[in-house]
């Protein structure tokens, strides 16, 4: 069945006709051309399709488009400010090597952003818990965790460097 839905997409009130069986992933990529949201597994395992709906990170591959009626959707395209300035989380991913091929990055960055909305200063374990549903095949996660930590606690850079040295020292 088709129906009309209205929702806030990256700050813009959006109204359009959809089919009941469309996933939010399909709507975003195939109908709205917002291809920043990626499809990996299509079954909730990889997190490449993550967006933020009403403040909560969700997998768009397992989320029906009809369910965003009246809600607020933030995709990676809406994270930077309208003048093009990147969001601090995006900048930190670039500066700290949290991006290699980039396929996981939109989902990873949105999961991390949702985490900081809830918990402004997460520790390593909290960060790992929050991004456990986002698989990265390239970075090995260390740089990603680093990038998230530095967005939340930019002033603790020195502490991190010391921790690295003692890590290698023990090996």
């Amino acid at each position: 069945m088709s129906r009309q839905i209205s929702f806030d997409l990256n700050g813009n009130e959006t109204s359009l006709e959809i089919e009941d069986h469309w996933t939010l992933l399909y709507l975003l990529r195939e109908k709205l051309g917002l291809t920043g949201t990626k499809e990996g597994c299509g079954s909730g395992e990889c997190g490449a399709c993550t967006v933020i709906v009403d403040g909560a990170a969700i997998n768009t591959c397992l989320y029906l488009a009809v369910e965003v009626e009246g809600k607020t959707v933030l995709t990676i395209e809406g994270l930077a400010s309208p003048n093009g300035d990147l969001h601090p989380m995006q900048k930190s991913f670039i500066e700290n090597g949290g991006i290699q091929c980039g396929y996981c990055s939109p989902g990873m960055i949105l999961s991390a952003t949702a985490l900081l909305e809830e918990n402004a200063a997460p520790d390593d374990d909290e960060i790992k818990h929050a991004i456990a549903g986002n698989i990265c095949r390239c970075t090995g996660y260390v740089q990603i965790i680093d990038a998230i930590k530095r967005t939340s606690q930019p002033e603790t850079e020195k502490v991190k460097v010391v921790a690295w040295q003692s890590d290698t020292g023990n090996k």
Binding site: G47, A132, G133
Partner: protein, 299 residues
Amino acid sequence: MKPFTYLIPKTLDEAISLFESHEGRSAYIAGGTDVLIKIKERKLLPDYLISLKHILGPDRPLLNADTKELYISAFITHRTLERSTLIQRTYPILHDAVKNIGSVQIRNTATIGGNLVNAVPSADGAIPLIALDASVNIYGTKGMRSIDLIHFFLGPGQSVLEKGEILTEIVVPPLLPRTGGAYIKFGRRKAMELPLLGVGMLLSLDEDLATCVKARIGLGVAAPTPIRAFSAERFLKGREVNEQTLTEAGQIAADEARVRDSIRGVAWYRRELVGVLVKRMGFTCLQRAGLKHGDSEDV
């Protein structure tokens, strides 16, 4: 995905009558983390999907101040339970379980009711609730009925739910004083994996904080349905909880488990694991029973 019509009832009666009027062509959906995968894989091909997410009801777990019973609406998400301070403080056994179901993204949509209705032997939500002696309320055309959760499961993917019936609520009876509980999902990693074994344990202690007055041991992936290790529970009751009795209880539980070989692990390993984890959870229970509220540290 094959096209379907999505229906959004606001009441239980409306949901049931929609189910009946499209009998044989409809399915319920809550968070959809199982249903949508089945539809994608063409294992389920409904013409109508009836959403249970918009049925009005409590959006968080509630403790009845008089009876001390805990009420959990079936339609709330694992994430809501994970973030509830009531669950964190008073029911750490449930918190241990829900915080490691899937990922944040899965927990933000998947519901506790869907987890039970799925009735897989590994259901992480089910094992702690069984240890907590929970019952479930079920609503259908014949009205509301209640059944102990331990009797809800019939086999892999099968429950006592009749066609069109809806699981509406989970009720946890009051905890005895000095009760500690803990759950562990054992696998290669914590997140995003079905467990090799799940062990949920609840111990209530006497005033000496050593003698067991009540024990509950729930096991996941140890049989075709979630089960309780009744003999091990009986063994612990009345005994002092210590290294020796927990080791013995673990062995008894291992003998009770009907573990099988599977792709994730072989039977003998699982059986050994039952013993080890029952003991480990027993110690965590002991520690938590001595604390005022229980706590939420990692297990």
